[in-house]
């Protein structure tokens, strides 16, 4: 481990981009057939614009003070350290459930129905504890390998769907149903969680430029656009009747006799969720500023316990996979609290 070494900001941003791309891999939100492809695309861009806004406070802190929000808060208000750490830990546990539950659900419903979601969750969390113990720098190094794997998988998934493309006449028209459009915008706000990770880990990085978050969001948008495009035109009506539409896309992709790209898709989703939860645990370690291993084990156990309850109680599960709650909570920890510190700091000066 190299705890005292600052790592490249580019690499952290690449990892965050991969995390944000995974939102659409675990997509259980049905892109409504009432909206045309163009409207869905605009909704997606709207959602990502909100994510970009949520990035602003941590980017301002990084640019002006070359540090992250957690460090600033620990320095300026040491008395609030524990309540603030508790709020962030609560957020990260919630966010971990937001990704873990759809992932185990996708795995058990679509890929391998004979296995219990709790077992999948437990094994995954065990691996995440190890990664979180190693730290954010090491997880970001893993991100480079994941990036190579994601490129290959996406290439196969999209390449294998090209032959199935079928354009309807009104696909590009501005046909919209405003209720479902709003829910689509909210759904595509989900990548804003990467702004919270950045608010916690930015201090460990060096060589930050403003281009980096812009590129990360641009490539996320590109990935989403490609998935939306292929889901709309390669899978079409078949996808509209089912959940986990991007998984369906990987299932229908094929190259002559070669099929089974959904295995690569599940592998990519597994590694992405692994990286997201590991980064969450790293952020909790950073906010708690305590022993990495003990802390990681404790919070992984909490995440597992909550997911166990959620698997048995559907109303609890509904709370954890609710897009609205997730976005509001993200906005509070990514924008409101850091902005309060920035403005208080200015007034104090």
């Amino acid at each position: 481990m190299q705890p005292n070494i600052k790592f490249s900001s580019k690499r952290l941003m690449l990892s965050l981009m991969l995390c944000s791309c995974s939102v659409i891999l675990l997509q259980n939100h049905n892109v409504s057939p009432k909206n045309s492809f163009t409207v869905n695309l605009l909704c997606m861009l709207g959602g990502l614009a909100v994510s970009a806004v949520m990035f602003l406070p941590s980017v301002i802190l990084k640019k002006t003070r070359d540090t992250d929000f957690l460090t600033v808060s620990a320095q300026s208000t040491p008395k609030l350290k524990i309540p603030l750490a508790a709020v962030y830990a609560l957020y990260f546990v919630y966010a971990a459930e937001y990704f873990l539950l759809p992932y185990t659900d996708l795995f058990c419903k679509k890929y391998y129905p004979e296995v219990s979601p709790c077992v999948i969750g437990l094994c995954l969390l065990g691996a995440c504890v190890y990664a979180a113990y190693k730290g954010a720098n090491i997880i970001s190094r893993f991100g480079l390998f994941l990036f190579a794997f994601a490129l290959l998988t996406n290439l196969l998934m999209f390449g294998g769907s090209i032959t199935s493309l079928d354009f309807a006449n009104d696909s590009f028209a501005l046909k919209a149903d405003w209720d479902s459009a709003l829910s689509t915008v909210i759904y595509f706000c989900a990548p804003s969680f990467i702004a919270v990770i950045y608010a916690c880990l930015a201090g460990e990085t060096k060589n930050f430029t403003l281009k980096q978050p812009l590129f990360a969001l641009f490539f996320t948008a590109l990935k989403y656009a490609l998935v939306l495009f292929f889901v709309s035109f390669a899978v079409g009506a078949y996808a509209q009747r089912q959940d986990y539409q991007s998984f369906i896309l990987s299932r229908v992709a094929h190259f002559d006799g070669f099929a089974g790209i959904e295995s690569l898709f599940v592998a990519l989703a597994t590694m992405s969720v692994f990286m997201i939860i590991s980064l969450f645990l790293s952020c909790i370690n950073k906010s708690a500023q305590q022993g990495r291993l003990k802390n990681s084990i404790l919070f992984a156990a909490i995440i597992f316990a909550v997911s166990f309850i959620a698997e048995w109680n559907n109303s609890v599960k509904e709370i954890f996979i609710n897009d609205y709650i997730f976005i509001i909570f993200t906005a509070v920890v990514a924008v409101l609290i850091p902005l309060a510190y920035i403005f208080t700091g200015r007034k104090a000066k």
Partner: protein, 484 residues
């Protein structure tokens, strides 16, 4: 400390418990005072011819006239012996160190100081091509056992005053001499200091091979599955590594020289890559990476597909495979594990039995165990083929054989329990473990992650010498290296 000859002889005989190889030849110098002396050696470590020519004959022939013992010692040092390797000393510890290293020690009665004369002449294996690092084009010279011979092989290739050899002694019982070797302008002083500190921490009683020191040189609290310490038996390889700022450690009595820091991508670089045309070297390198992946993942993927996802196997293969798998008594996971273990047993046996019996083992292994087991329906031909191909692939990058074997077994078991998902999870943990590993503070996965574009010209591809030669990348310059 006043030495008299009798005292020295007595204490030596006591210390060596009258060991039969301790030889003390009494002499009387030709002088007016009949100075008594002794030439002390250990039998078998000195060349008898050299001893006679450089020590005994000149001592007997020279007329010391009216010299006192002190003056006689001065005369021996300056004008009697023709040897260029002479050292004056006066302690018993040094006396023991010299005689056990093959020196002849001249002691004179009534004189504090003694003289050690280099007359080493023990028998050793001659310089030959190392069997583990055979090359098509390039030197056929490999390291041998004596430290000095190995040093000379490096010095002959690096005619550079910046090449430094620093001697250390390790092993509380064996007192093994080791030599830290580096290029002063290339190696980072902090890396050299780190190596010396770690070697000094080694408190093993005996050091008979480089492997004894490897564990002491590894960074603490990093994964031990892959080794951050490299080994080479080729002087040209060692010299190449020295120019990249690495440090070599030569251990007396072994032809395997330690090179540190060692990175993952180096395991795929061979001496032949730099002799061949760059496009061909690139192809070979890509094949090496593919072989590595095949060696690690092929049996596990076979298990996962056969057991959990037969729908991914093309129909014409699936029909044949499922027919044979249906009649074999063992589940596919156990079958793959069984063949893997049988192969490892045969490999170990093949390494240790006399060469004359090697053919018999090949016949028993290949025909009797392999073919008969398939014919009898105990194992399937497809399983045998997958395991055998993976085993052969693991030798393409032979330094990685130990971690590849361990990973393969873990992955087979995981694939048998959790299918492709298990493979993915174990792979993720392994990558995290590899990414967290460092070798002397240099990230083990350097060039790949942390990514270094400049280094990539010698990773997946081997760029032309014009590009490679334009700028040598020092190992301490890799991104995120501690204490640059």
């Amino acid at each position: 400390m006043k030495h008299t000859l009798d005292k020295i002889k007595l204490s030596l005989n006591e210390m060596f418990s009258n060991s039969s190889d301790l030889t003390i030849k009494d002499i009387i110098l030709k002088s007016n005072y009949k100075i008594k002396g002794a030439v002390i050696t250990i039998e078998g470590l000195c060349s008898k011819d050299e001893l006679a020519q450089s020590v005994l004959n000149p001592l007997m022939m020279h007329d010391f006239g009216t010299s006192t013992p002190q003056a006689a010692l001065e005369t021996i040092l300056t004008s009697v012996s023709g040897s260029c390797d002479m050292t004056r000393f006066n302690s018993t510890q040094e006396l023991i160190a010299f005689i056990t290293s093959g020196f002849a020690v001249i002691a004179l009665d009534g004189c504090d100081d003694m003289i050690a004369v280099g007359v080493q002449g023990y028998s050793y294996r001659s310089v030959s091509e190392p069997e583990s690092e055979v090359v098509q084009r390039g030197a056929r010279e490999g390291f041998t056992e004596p430290l000095r011979v190995n040093m000379s092989m490096i010095r002959r290739r690096m005619k550079n005053p910046d090449l430094i050899f620093e001697q250390l002694t390790v092993g509380t019982e064996s007192k093994t001499q080791i030599m830290i070797c580096y290029l002063k302008h290339c190696a980072s002083p902090s890396l050299v200091k780190k190596v010396k500190t770690r070697l000094n921490e080694c408190q093993l009683p005996t050091i008979f091979a480089s492997g004894y020191l490897s564990e002491y040189l590894e960074d603490k609290s990093t994964s031990r599955l892959f080794s951050g310490v490299g080994i080479s038996e080729r002087p040209d390889t060692v010299c190449g590594k020295l120019t990249e700022g690495r440090i070599a450690i030569i251990v007396d009595g072994t032809p395997a020289v330690i090179i540190i820091p060692r990175l993952f991508v180096e395991e795929f670089q061979g001496v032949d890559d730099y002799s061949n045309r760059s496009y061909y070297a690139t192809l070979i390198r890509l094949i090496k990476y593919l072989s590595f992946f095949f060696a690690v993942f092929a049996p596990a993927l076979y298990v996962a597909l056969a057991q959990f996802h037969p729908e991914y196997i093309p129909t014409w293969i699936l029909i044949k495979t499922s027919e044979s798998l249906a009649v074999t008594p063992l589940p596919v996971t156990l079958e793959v594990l069984l063949i893997t273990f049988i192969y490892e047993i045969m490999k170990e046996a093949g390494l240790r039995i006399p060469k004359s019996l090697g053919h018999a083992v090949s016949i028993v292994g290949g025909l009797v165990v392999g073919e008969s087991a398939v014919n009898a329906g105990i194992i399937t031909a497809s399983t045998l083929m997958v395991v055998a191909t993976a085993a052969i692939s693991s030798y393409v990058t032979s330094p990685l054989y130990p971690p590849v074997t361990i990973l393969r077994v873990i992955l087979i078991i995981t694939a048998g329990v959790a299918g492709l998902w298990g493979i993915v999870l174990v792979t993720a943990v392994t990558i995290i473990s590899m990414c967290s590993k460092t070798s002397l503070g240099v990230p083990y996965m350097s060039s790949l992650s942390p990514f270094s574009l400049r280094s990539m010209r010698d990773v997946f591809i081997r760029a032309s010498w014009k590009k490679l030669g334009s700028h040598t990348i020092r190992v301490q310059k890799f991104p995120e290296t501690e204490e640059k």
